[in-house]
């Protein structure tokens, strides 16, 4: 089994290195093919491990070598394949493999084709390190690794110039990449502090040792550690107030958005909370905060998705919203439900993004859904895929999202947090509305794209075939829920609804369903028959507020970026040059000046010298007399 662990882990790495060899040369199709094959190998290895863990119930634990040894700190490169990590591994490698194959088609006109695969595989490798490590430091390697890969991939089209925020809310790919990296760094500091707290209180960063020791730790220490780790999770999973980077990250190529910013990397925060559940279950206050923040973000992000016109940004907001659901579940103690939603979401959201990629490809990178419409004629398959994904996202019965999201909402009820429950239910309705608003505006109604002279075409056949596993999973994944529960609760704490909740579960489900169907019906009524713009609505303050993301990016710029640049400038020009350096120069100048002044004594006239000599002698006499008097 150890061999499989290494194959699963290093196949993406090999793929990245292989592609990097050709990184600066012409597009070579075999680079993409080889990368996809290696990823498939990684997926197969992960799946075999999953079966092994499922069959035996044992985790596979390997330690490759020492990494950092200093003082009492021992950090090895160790990897653990247990129920949680193998779930993540399978999901990550599956989605990655599909995205790799997809990218062969999607990126076929890009001159940096090879470079793209190198980055993409490097990302998968980092993600595997993140989920497989058996200690917090290893997790942090992956954590930062995916951050860098995300930076590289968001800024993949680095040659685009910066434009104003009105023209493009993300300014430019390189700007968005830097924003994402820096925001993540802020959270990473929190994460690092979390590691330090654990290390100095436990004496180790290995999961098993830390989790064995946490029950004996002081409450404040636990709270501090949990909070610090969660700050780390907030950055990677783009929770409020560190959320703005996620929508800007849509500047990256669409396969990147599908893989990184929907299915895998952004869920790393949720993974961290699930992984560290022994810690979080001991800190009810922090956990409740996580649940509350998750619920807030679910609603907050969904509200912004309601009015957005950008195909990818709508999906990004919905990702954000679904991450909120996952955090809500994890915060309420339903770790396995959070993990299940994570997996299900990975499938249907990746599918949705890849579908959006097809549309973009067809529309020559046009993203405004107001300029689309009626695409179903030319893009039947894509319509089908995006329809399935949206149904799953909306939580329509028997699609994947129905099971997982319903369970989360039910959990909120079960925990007695009625406010959270209510918000989550409303959000479910909003989710259904914006998903279908997007689908209808894209595929139904009048063919608005014609006036822009675009001739859309369907994606390559093999790409569509490659997407099919995701579509199948988006439909059927929900039926594996019980098996999944049985599987992961060997490691994660089981979570059961109370008798009472169980009793009224069908009512709760119905309420959610009413909201979901209501959302779809509203979208149908407003957008199915084409776009009718409502000037009054679009000019209202709340519409503008939502369309401008509550003005948060602007606020950040006005109150953080700009003042920081200003203060930096003042620090340099005013403080460093005018005070610190000027003081040093001042001392030097004073010495020079004293020399310059006293130089005047040096007249060259012997007579003056003699006079000075006499003055000196008299002075000495006076000093001698005074000191003699003082002593005597």
């Amino acid at each position: 089994m150890e061999g499989l662990v290494y194959i699963a882990l290093f196949a993406p790495f090999a793929s990245s290195l292989f592609a990097a060899l050709f990184g600066m040369s012409e597009r070579k199709i075999f680079v993409g093919v080889v990368a996809s094959i290696l990823l498939t190998i990684s997926f197969v290895a992960s799946a075999m491990l999953a079966f092994y863990v499922y069959g035996t119930g044992h985790a596979v634990h390997v330690t490759m070598m020492d990494w950092i040894n200093a003082g009492d700190l021992r950090i090895p490169f160790g990897f653990v394949v247990d129920q949680v990590s193998v779930t993540m591994m399978t999901v990550v490698t599956l989605v990655s493999t599909i995205v790799h194959i997809y990218s062969i088609g999607y990126m076929d006109h890009d001159k940096s084709f090879n470079r793209f695969f190198s980055y993409l595989s490097a990302f998968v490798f980092s993600m595997m390190v993140l989920v497989m490590s058996d200690n917090f430091a290893g997790l942090f390697i992956g954590w930062e690794g995916v951050g860098v890969c995300s930076w590289l991939l968001v800024g993949f089209w680095y040659h685009k110039p910066d434009v104003s925020r009105e023209e493009n809310p993300s300014i430019s790919p390189s700007w968005a990449a830097n924003e994402a990296f820096i925001m993540n760094r802020i959270a990473d500091l929190g994460m690092l502090i979390g590691l330090f707290i654990l290390y100095w209180n436990v004496g180790s960063l290995q999961y098993d040792e830390v989790f064995a020791a946490v029950p004996f730790l002081d409450g404040t220490v636990l709270n501090a550690a949990a909070l610090a780790l969660f700050i780390g999770a907030m950055g990677k999973s783009a929770q409020f107030p560190l959320h703005t980077w996620l929508t800007d990250a849509m500047e990256g190529p669409t396969p990147v958005s599908a893989l990184i910013h929907a299915a895998t990397m952004v869920t790393a925060g949720v993974f961290l909370v699930i992984r560290a559940n022994p810690l979080f279950s001991l800190t009810p206050e922090v956990s409740y905060f996580i649940a509350a923040l998750g619920t807030f973000v679910a609603f907050f992000a969904a509200s912004m998705a309601l009015v957005n016109r950008d195909l990818k940004r709508i999906i990004a907001f919905s990702t954000l919203s679904q991450l909120g659901y996952m955090f809500a579940a994890a915060g309420l103690g339903a770790y396995w439900i959070a993990l299940f939603h994570l997996a299900a979401h990975a499938f249907f959201k990746a599918l949705l993004f890849l579908g959006a990629g097809n549309v973009m490809h067809a529309m020559h990178d046009e993203l405004d859904i107001f300029k689309m419409g009626g695409l179903k004629k030319v893009m039947k398959w894509t319509y089908l895929y995006m329809g399935i994904a949206s149904l799953a996202l909306a939580g329509i019965p028997f699609f994947a999202g129905f099971f997982s999201k319903d369970a989360i909402i039910e959990t909120a009820w079960n925990e007695g947090t009625i406010v959270l429950w209510a918000i989550l239910v409303v959000t479910a309705g909003m989710t259904a509305f914006y998903s279908f608003r997007q689908v209808f505006l894209t595929f139904e109604g009048d063919e608005r794209y014609k006036q822009y002279g675009i001739h859309p075409h369907e994606m390559y056949r093999y790409v569509l075939i490659a997407m099919s596993p995701l579509a199948v999973l988006a439909v059927v994944a929900g039926f594996g829920m019980e098996g999944f529960e049985h599987f992961v609760t060997k490691l994660l704490p089981d979570y059961h609804m109370s008798e009472h909740t169980h009793h009224i579960a069908w009512i709760l489900g119905l309420v959610v369903l009413v909201f979901a169907v209501g959302g779809i019906a509203l979208a149908y009524k407003k957008y199915y028959h084409g776009l009718k713009r409502d000037e009054k609505l679009e000019n209202s303050w709340y519409y503008k507020l939502l369309a401008n993301q509550y003005y948060i990016p602007v606020l950040y710029e006005e109150f953080i970026s700009k003042p920081y640049a200003m203060i930096s400038d003042a620090m340099w020009n005013k403080v460093d040059m005018k005070i610190v350096d000027a003081t040093v120069d001042g001392i030097a100048k004073f010495l020079y000046k004293t020399g310059d002044e006293t130089r005047k004594m040096q007249t060259g006239n012997l007579s003056n010298y003699l006079n000075w000599m006499a003055v000196g002698a008299v002075l000495f006499l006076v000093v001698a007399a005074i000191s003699a008097a003082a002593i005597g």
Binding site: W67, I68, N69, G71, G155, P161, S174, N178, F196, W572
Partner: protein, 511 residues
């Protein structure tokens, strides 16, 4: 080779003297050969170094002025070993990558002399010998900045010289006083640092002496607010000067703290933790902000290097093995990474004769290899895991957390602010469209440039993934030092704060 250390010191100096008779055309090849031999010698030093021994090795001792206890006393331990290796490596690589044509022979000879002084500082175990090399190292650097520098070179060179010189004079007074106290307590004169280690000084003496040494070291580091000579020196120095300055000369200051201040004045060091940590944190945040405001690429690197030295400083004063070991490791990492970054800036300067970021943009498309290497060094500089930059920074912050969580958070902003200014440099210079006509046809890295940078990239990744061969000997010597500091400390507070790792208490290895 019993006197390998003397060979390491004087081989470059003698080769430098012989360099006067080498003809001008072959001066460069001559210099590279000498530096390469020197590097191989230092590698040999590493391989014959006994990693199980935490004390001084390869010790050489020849009395010079027996009446005053001054002797030619050399030795290395795990702390100095790798700094020496880094010195010889960076000199070699700096020489290989050098693009200077003017007075090349003088430059080569100067560099070889500089190498002598630098190695001398790190192997000296006698305070007078240490001081001698310490001051001598100023002269070649003064010459390099003053003769090959930019338009303000004379100002920069004099500022550099006088500023650091003033600090070290105060340090000299401190040294003389320690020797005097040693004499009055034991009746013999000695300038041997290892003898001084045994001296238990009263706290008020320790504080005064700490202050005297502090001034000498802090200006060299350079700590806020003594840092302003550095941007001028970097701004005016030729590439090779900046590389050596950032990679090696600054390390002399931090090395001095580890070699002198901590073991000699443990109580004073513990008492000064807070003031020094505050200065270091100001240094980290403030210079990171100043770096962000710069318009000149080289100045960004110069200020960033000050900011990173702040991390090294707080690590030293973490008073535990993680922090100090991390600091020593970070010295190596900073040497290699900032050296490489200065070389990279030098490469673009050679092509465009400007370092202003506004003159660039879109270089990633024109010079992809250059962009890749710059990117790797940038990531190492911001402390990405699996690069050399992470190991030291992580250990330092981890170590200092034990002293003060709040200050660790403040110092930890370095990972955010570092990303801010570094990514902004990268974006301004490498991303976006190519707007300037002159940039459209820039040549990518030549073979010479590539081969001088690739070894550094390899080290950055190797030591990021597998720091053990370097970290273990460092750790061993640091542990021994901590054991001995704890024993020697007289105040209860110091005994409490100086933390000997459990692994070292069990082994019970004392110098």
């Amino acid at each position: 080779m019993d006197n390998i250390l003397s060979v390491l010191i004087f081989f470059p100096a003698i080769a430098g003297l012989l360099g006067f008779v080498v003809d001008k055309k072959s001066a460069r090849a001559y210099g590279i050969t000498v530096a390469a031999i020197e590097f191989l010698l230092s590698l040999w030093l590493w391989f014959s170094f006994d990693t199980g021994n935490a004390g001084m090795q390869f010790v050489e001792m020849i009395p010079l002025i027996p009446d005053f206890g001054v002797s030619y006393y050399l030795g290395v331990d795990g702390i100095s070993l790798f700094i020496i290796l880094m010195t010889t490596l960076m000199t070699l690589i700096g020489m290989v990558s050098m693009s200077i044509e003017k007075d090349i022979k003088n430059m080569i000879i100067t560099l070889l002399f500089l190498e002598m002084t630098m190695v001398g500082v790190f192997v000296a175990l006698d305070a007078i010998v240490f001081y001698l090399f310490w001051e001598l190292s100023l002269v070649p650097m003064l010459y390099i900045v003053g003769a090959w520098g930019g338009p303000l070179r004379v100002y920069a060179a004099i500022k550099f010289f006088l500023y650091t010189f003033m600090g070290s004079l105060v340090m000299l007074v401190g040294m003389l006083f320690v020797a005097y106290v040693y004499h009055s307590l034991t009746g013999v004169w000695s300038f041997a640092i290892t003898d001084w280690y045994a001296l238990v000084l009263p706290v008020n003496y320790q504080l005064w002496l700490f202050a005297a040494f502090f001034l000498g070291f802090a200006i060299k580091v350079p700590m806020f607010p003594f840092h302003t000579w550095l941007p001028y020196a970097h701004g005016q120095a030729p590439t090779i000067g900046s590389v050596i300055l950032a990679a090696v000369l600054l390390k002399m200051g931090t090395y001095g703290f580890v070699r002198f201040s901590l073991p000699m004045f443990p109580d004073a060091s513990v008492m000064m933790i807070t003031p020094i940590a505050v200065l270091s944190i100001i240094m980290i945040i403030y210079t990171a902000m100043v770096a962000y405001a710069q318009k000149d690429m080289k100045q960004v690197i110069a200020y960033s290097s000050v900011s990173h030295m702040g991390i090294i400083m707080i690590g030293i004063f973490a008073m535990n093995s993680e922090g100090i070991g991390g600091s020593v490791f970070q010295m190596l990492s900073h040497g290699i990474v900032s050296g490489a970054l200065f070389m990279l800036v030098g490469i673009i300067y050679d092509r465009r004769h400007t370092k202003l970021m506004s003159e660039f943009g879109g270089l990633a498309a024109v010079m992809p290899k250059y962009a890749v290497i710059f990117g790797i060094m940038l990531m190492a500089s911001v402390g990405l895991p699996l690069t050399i930059g992470f190991v030291g920074e992580f250990l330092v912050l981890l170590g200092f957390y034990e002293i003060s969580p709040v200050m660790t958070i403040l110092a930890g902003t370095s990972i955010i602010l570092g990303a801010v200014y570094m990514l902004s440099v990268f974006k301004k210079s490498f991303f976006g469209p190519v707007t300037k006509e002159e940039n459209k046809n820039l040549k990518d890295l030549t073979a010479k440039e590539t081969w001088s940078l690739v070894p550094l990239v390899a080290i950055v990744i190797w030591l990021g993934v597998y720091p053990k061969p370097v970290l273990d000997p460092i750790n061993k010597s640091v542990n021994a030092m901590l054991v001995f500091m704890e024993e020697k400390a007289i105040t209860a507070e110091a005994k409490d704060i100086i933390k000997v790792p459990q692994s070292a208490t069990n082994a019970g290895e004392v110098k």
